[in-house]
Subunit: 446 residues, 2 copies
Amino acid sequence: MILRDLIERKRDGGRLSSDEWREVAQAAANGSVPDYQLAALLMAIFWRGLDDAETSALTSAMLATGNVLHRPEGAAPWIDKHSTGGVGDKTSLILAPLLASVGVTVPMMSGRGLGHTGGTLDKLESIPGFRTDLSLTRAESQLEAIGCALIGQTTEIAPADRRLYALRDATATVECIQLIAASIMSKKLAEGLTGLVLDVKRGSGAFLPELDRGLALARTMIALGAASGVPVVALVTAMDRPLGDACGNALEVRECLDALRGDGPVDLRTVTDALAVEMLRLARPSVAVADARATLRDAITSGAAFDKFRQIVAAQGGDVRAVDDPTLLPTATDIGDVLADREGVVHALPPRPIGHAIIALGGGRTRTDDVIDPAVGVIFRVRVGDTVRAGQPLATVHAGSPSALTDGRHRLSGIIRLGDGPPPDGVLPWVSHRVTTGGVEEYRAE
Amino acid sequence: MILRDLIERKRDGGRLSSDEWREVAQAAANGSVPDYQLAALLMAIFWRGLDDAETSALTSAMLATGNVLHRPEGAAPWIDKHSTGGVGDKTSLILAPLLASVGVTVPMMSGRGLGHTGGTLDKLESIPGFRTDLSLTRAESQLEAIGCALIGQTTEIAPADRRLYALRDATATVECIQLIAASIMSKKLAEGLTGLVLDVKRGSGAFLPELDRGLALARTMIALGAASGVPVVALVTAMDRPLGDACGNALEVRECLDALRGDGPVDLRTVTDALAVEMLRLARPSVAVADARATLRDAITSGAAFDKFRQIVAAQGGDVRAVDDPTLLPTATDIGDVLADREGVVHALPPRPIGHAIIALGGGRTRTDDVIDPAVGVIFRVRVGDTVRAGQPLATVHAGSPSALTDGRHRLSGIIRLGDGPPPDGVLPWVSHRVTTGGVEEYRAE
């Protein structure tokens, strides 16, 4: 393979064969081609796109450069959920134990915070001792023992994707539907799944804010799943405002523990329930929606889901006492409210600046080697559309120092938008569309 | 400067400011940004192009990363010629001494063979002892002493261009008009010129085969020259067949020595004369074309041009005896003819496969570290349109071994196309257009 010639062909709008994609992925994984040629190819792909067959070939090729989780013959269904990312987006921590507690195996491989968004691994690691760097062998044992493992992308998984992803981040070639889909699916297919639920965020805080781009991604991933015999269902959910009240790692774990006990913010429960029903129905297609809903509700009220979370924490080295008593989770030293400086209506809680404010508090990264403070973050006390009086608390900032608190309160004051009359942009429905191989339909909770 | 953000802006069709291009060029020169980001930027430029101001800013910025030749106050005009490259394209070796012999200083910085085309440096180095790696200081002294220096692009000149050029070659981003123009002009402006003649090749053997692309390049370079106060005139010449009879380094030097004595193929003289007149008129704008032509003819017939070539060879360490007696130039060990296998008409002598055949003989490079054999090459014995009889010699192959000769004869037999009736594609006029700031005109030799 002469990579220069493949770059030229893609540059001119041509296509690469499956064999050529396999060679590209292998060369990316084993380091036999230089980064600058891969970078030029990525920009040519960004420009010209990939057709369905190419996207599928690239996905399979990246998958084949690494190891995979092996689902035992005759085992229970293996189902995962993937979100395109957001602020306060913490459903994974609830869904994984919830589904595992009703007999669905959840091999969940997650990422760290990226840009303005948080990451499941960072949230989990705010539980003292919790390890996410399990080997695939250990993850397989844990999946067999307790039906769930919450792990990071090890170096064993799709090394070609790891290298290409790092290059995309540095070369402004991230926002390409086919590359996003191939990257996600190369990792998800490595989990040995029998089904995948995709949470496609839309709105200003989503990586792809426009609905049509989100739907295009969903359709591409559904097609990639179908090509590999893995059914994929996507829900389109809102990210024009944070999900739930808590934003920040330990704060979000606390909110998830509430949700696993049947409490917590209603918007978080709405999105989580919708995703849970899809996961359960992928595992058991013959079960009616109402029955699925009842099964999941029982798992919460009986304490089975909460207990499963305790098992996962224990299995992965975490301190179970912090699950039982969340005051043992990391706690910020400097806490203070952001007060409304006028009366009015909350017009916007824009996720991107909120995400950046949390990074500024030390709760996220601007470089991959930044160390984060798990305790810091923000708890929102109001929702978009709420009427507030002057002096009312809008949010509580959890910071690591008095100066960080001052800075955080100042930032949040500038971010939370108050106005008169109803919010001019309205709000997006929390769950708006459902996408399957059959097409796109408006979502209705039955 | 965050290069990622500049890549993103260019990717989305935006423009970079002059300050930003300066930072990009400086970072490329000093190595403070990684190759993969430059590669992604190059592909984004290939996609979106550069506007005139950006092309000019990039040219100036690349120029400013290195040193330049200094033309003394009040010195004679400094004029160079640049060709976009071809097979058998040897006019530099004639033009440089010819113009220097009539009082025009020629600071000529040339390149090596690239792709299917030959390079002036490789041709010169077939003269035993000839050194092209002069420092700028030594080149300045030689220019003052004898009015000509034939040198390579030293590491002192436009280091940003060196790095970007090497990346372009490996990332399929060479054929971009603005990048080609900026690369050439950043080096030419470093020569301290008062005028530049551009030889834009067109036809199947040119890097930009189509006339309109060649004209676009000419116009871009003329505008870049104008922005720096350096008049540029371009001639469009044919590269649908080799120029002259000889292709291969020492063989071409022999043909140039013939031309400097007033002999040699008429097509080579036609192109060389046209370029020489333009160079002389840039040096002395008030001189009429007929007078310029007469001055140049006299320099050949008097032996002044030939003598200037001897001076240059002596000044640059070459063996002058090989100039006086070309049999002392490197000579191939295995020489044999390619015979016509039928009677007919020569329909095509396509330059690209001919260039690749010379590389296969060892007379060119496929990698920059290949060592070339200066003696090998091909002398054509017929022209496109000639009627030949079966068994007539079409070309003479000069090879380095009996097996290479066999292989070379076989290749050339396959390349030289014979047919019936006149050549279906005809031939391009050797000099077809003249381009100045005033526009494009059809070329007519006066």
